[in-house]
Amino acid sequence: MIKTLKANSIYRTIRKVVITGPIWAVLLGVFIIASVVTPDFLSLRNLTNILLQSSLNGMLAIGMTFLMINGYFDLSVGTAMGFCAVLTIGMQPYGLITAILAALVAGLAIGAINGLFVVKAKINAFVVTLAAFIGLRGLIFIYTGERSIVGQVDGFATFGMSEILGFPTLALLMLVFLVIAEFTLRKTGHGRNTYAIGGNAEAARNAGVPVERTTFINFMLCGLGAAIGGIFIASRMNAATPMLGWPDTNLKIIATVALGGTKLRGGFGSMIHTLGGLLTLAIISNSMDLLNVPSFYNRLSMGLILMLVVYIDAKFKPTAA
C-alpha cells in the first residue's frame, strides 16, 4: 500500500514535468540511454562536441521559434542559411567584416520579403516561404556558378574551430543568442505581442497589438537567425557549397522547434524548450554516430520522437502559456 502511494507521487511528479515540457523527459531519457549504451558519450570532449554541432541548427531554431510562437513558419530558412553562407565566403575579397555584414543584411532582407508578402499581401506563409525556398536556391546557383567557393581569409576557419576555456566559441555564441531571445520573448513588449498574436490574432488586434508589425519583425528575426547560422557554417569550413541547407534543413528546424513544445498554431513555446528539442536531436545524432549506426536510422528516430511529442502535445493541453 505504502509502496503504491510512493510510486504514485513519483508518477505524479513525472507527469507534471511531462505535461509542462515533455521535451525534458524525452531529453533525459535519451541522455540516460545514450550514456549507458554509448561508450565515450559522457566524455567532456564529446559533450562540448554535441553543443558545437547544435550551434548551427540552434541559430536557425531560435529565429524559427519567434515565428512559430507568432503562428507562422518559414520553409526558406535552410536555403536562406545557404545563401548567407555563400555570401560570407564569396564577399571575402571585400573584407571579412563586409562579408559578414552582407550575410546579415541578406538574411534580414529575405525575412523582410517573406514578411511583406505574408503581412501586406496576405498570402499564405506556406506558399510565400516555399517560393523563397526554391528561388533562393536558384540565386545560390547563379551566384556560385553551381560550384563550391572557398574563402580567402584563413583566420576565419580558425575562428570557427576556436574554443574559449575549452568551450566551443560557436556554441557559446549560440547560447548567448538563445538567452537574449528568451529574454526578448519574456520581458519585452515584442515578446508579449508575439504570444498574444499566436494565441488569438483577432483578439490581439482588438486589444491594440500591432499584429502586422510584430509578425513582420518575427519574419526578419527568422531571417537573421538563418544568416547567423550561415556565417557559423561558413566559418566551420571557410568554404561554402551550393547545396548547403538543401533539401530538408527547413523541416529539421521546424521539427526541432515543434519537438521543444512550441505549438504549430502559435501562442505557446519558449527558447529554453527549443534548446531541449535541439539537444535531444543532437544527442541522438551524435550517439548514433558513435555507435556506428547508419545515418538513415537517425532520421527514423527523429520522426518517431517527433510523433511521440506531438502526441503528448495533442493529448495533454498545457494549462497556461
Binding site: 540511454i33 564529446n46 562536441n49 569550413m237 571557410n238 545515418s295 511521440l308 493529448k315
Partner: protein, 324 residues
C-alpha cells in the same frame, strides 16, 4: 487518463530502447585489433561508390579490422561533425572520402593537431591540407588523363589520319581536384604533340545532360572537330548522345579517363576508342591496405595510388565489364 499516461510511458520507453537496440555489440573495441574510422562521402550516390563501399567493408573483414563507418550523405557540414565524432572513438587511423576537398581542411587540421593519422580516400584533399594527412589512397587521376591522351593519339594513328588534328575536352566539375588532375594530365601529353589542337575545354560538372548539351554546342561551333576527350565514361555517354544526333558517333574519336559499365558497352559498339580501368573494388581494397599500414605505423607513399590500366577495343576482353 492515468492508464493512458502509463501506456504512453511504456510506448516511449519501448521506442527509445528499440532505437538503440541495434547498438548491441557495437561499442567495445579491443586494443589488439586495428580500428579504422571511416567518414564516407555518400554511399548511395552512384554505383561506383556503392561497390566501393561493399568492397571496403569486405576487405576490412578479411583483414580482421574493426570498421566504424559514418556516411555524410553528401553533406559537408555533416561530414565535419562526423569526423569530430570519429575522433571520440579514438580509431588507429581516420579515413576520409571528402565531400569537399577544401572545406574538409579545417577539421582535418584539427584531427591532425590532436594526434590522429589521416588517410584521404578516392578524391584528393586540397593542397593546403597536405601537411595534415599521412597519405592519399586513390586513383592517379593525372596518369589517367595522360593515358587517355595517349590512347587518343594511338587511335588517330590507327585510322591513318594525318595532318592537323582537332579535338575538344569535356571536363568534370571545375574546382574539383579529380577533374583538374584528369584535365591537366590530358593537356600535358597533348602539348607534346604539335599536330594536335585542343579547340575547347568545356566544364560539365560530372553531369551527363550537361555533357550532351556541351557536345551539341561544340559540334555546331567546330564542324571539323575529330576527337573528344571526356573525364569519365558517364560524360562519354552524354557526349555520345549528341554525336549520335549529329550522325557522327564512331567517326569522332572518343577517349575517357575512367570506365563505367555503359562505357564498356559503348566501346564494344565502336563508339569509344580508349578508357582507363579505374575499378571501384581495387580502389577500395587499396585504401584499406594503405589505412592498415598507416595504423600500424608502417611507411606508405604519400600518394598511394593504384593502377588503372588502359582499356582499348583490342584488349577490352581481358577486363570484366564493371557492374556500375
Amino acid at each position: 487518463m492515468k492508464k493512458g499516461m502509463r501506456n504512453l510511458f511504456l510506448l516511449s520507453v519501448l521506442l527509445f530502447v528499440g532505437m538503440f537496440a541495434f547498438a548491441g555489440g557495437g561499442g567495445e573495441t579491443k586494443d589488439d585489433v586495428i580500428t579504422i574510422g571511416y567518414a564516407v562521402f555518400n554511399v548511395g550516390i552512384d554505383s561506383y561508390e556503392t561497390y566501393h563501399n561493399e568492397n571496403f567493408i569486405a576487405e576490412c573483414e578479411r583483414q580482421g579490422v574493426e570498421l566504424i563507418q559514418l556516411d555524410a550523405q553528401g553533406d559537408i557540414a555533416r561530414q565535419i561533425n562526423q569526423v569530430e565524432n570519429l575522433m571520440q572513438k579514438d580509431p588507429d587511423v581516420i579515413v576520409i572520402w571528402p565531400v569537399h576537398g577544401k572545406a574538409i581542411v579545417p577539421v582535418v587540421k584539427k584531427a591532425h593537431d590532436e594526434g590522429f593519422k589521416i588517410v584521404i580516400a578516392n578524391s584528393p584533399i586540397d593542397e593546403t591540407g597536405f601537411d595534415y594527412i599521412t597519405a592519399y589512397a586513390g586513383p592517379d587521376n593525372t596518369q589517367e588523363g595522360r593515358d587517355a591522351a595517349e590512347m587518343m593519339i594511338e587511335a588517330f594513328e590507327k585510322r591513318g589520319i594525318t595532318g592537323q588534328k582537332k579535338v575538344v575536352e569535356l571536363m568534370g566539375l571545375p574546382g574539383y581536384v579529380t577533374a583538374i588532375e584528369r584535365s591537366d594530365g590530358f593537356q600535358e601529353v597533348l602539348a607534346q604533340h604539335p599536330d594536335f589542337t585542343l579547340l575547347a575545354t568545356e566544364p560539365t560538372d560530372w553531369n551527363r545532360e550537361k555533357a550532351t548539351r556541351a557536345m551539341e554546342d561544340l559540334l555546331v561551333k567546330y564542324k571539323d572537330l575529330q576527337g573528344v576527350y571526356v573525364a569519365d565514361d558517364n560524360l562519354g555517354i552524354g557526349a555520345l548522345n549528341a554525336l549520335k544526333e549529329a550522325g557522327r558517333a564512331g567517326e569522332v574519336i572518343m577517349t575517357s579517363a575512367c570506365i563505367f559499365g555503359e562505357g564498356y558497352d559503348a566501346m564494344k559498339e565502336g563508339y569509344i576508342q580508349g578508357t582507363c580501368y579505374q575499378y571501384s573494388g581495387l580502389d577500395a581494397i587499396n585504401t584499406v591496405k594503405v589505412a592498415v599500414k598507416v595504423a600500424k605505423g608502417e611507411e606508405v607513399d604519400f600518394l598511394s595510388t593504384f593502377e588503372s590500366p588502359k582499356v582499348t577495343p583490342d584488349n577490352m576482353d581481358d577486363f570484366k565489364r564493371p557492374e556500375y
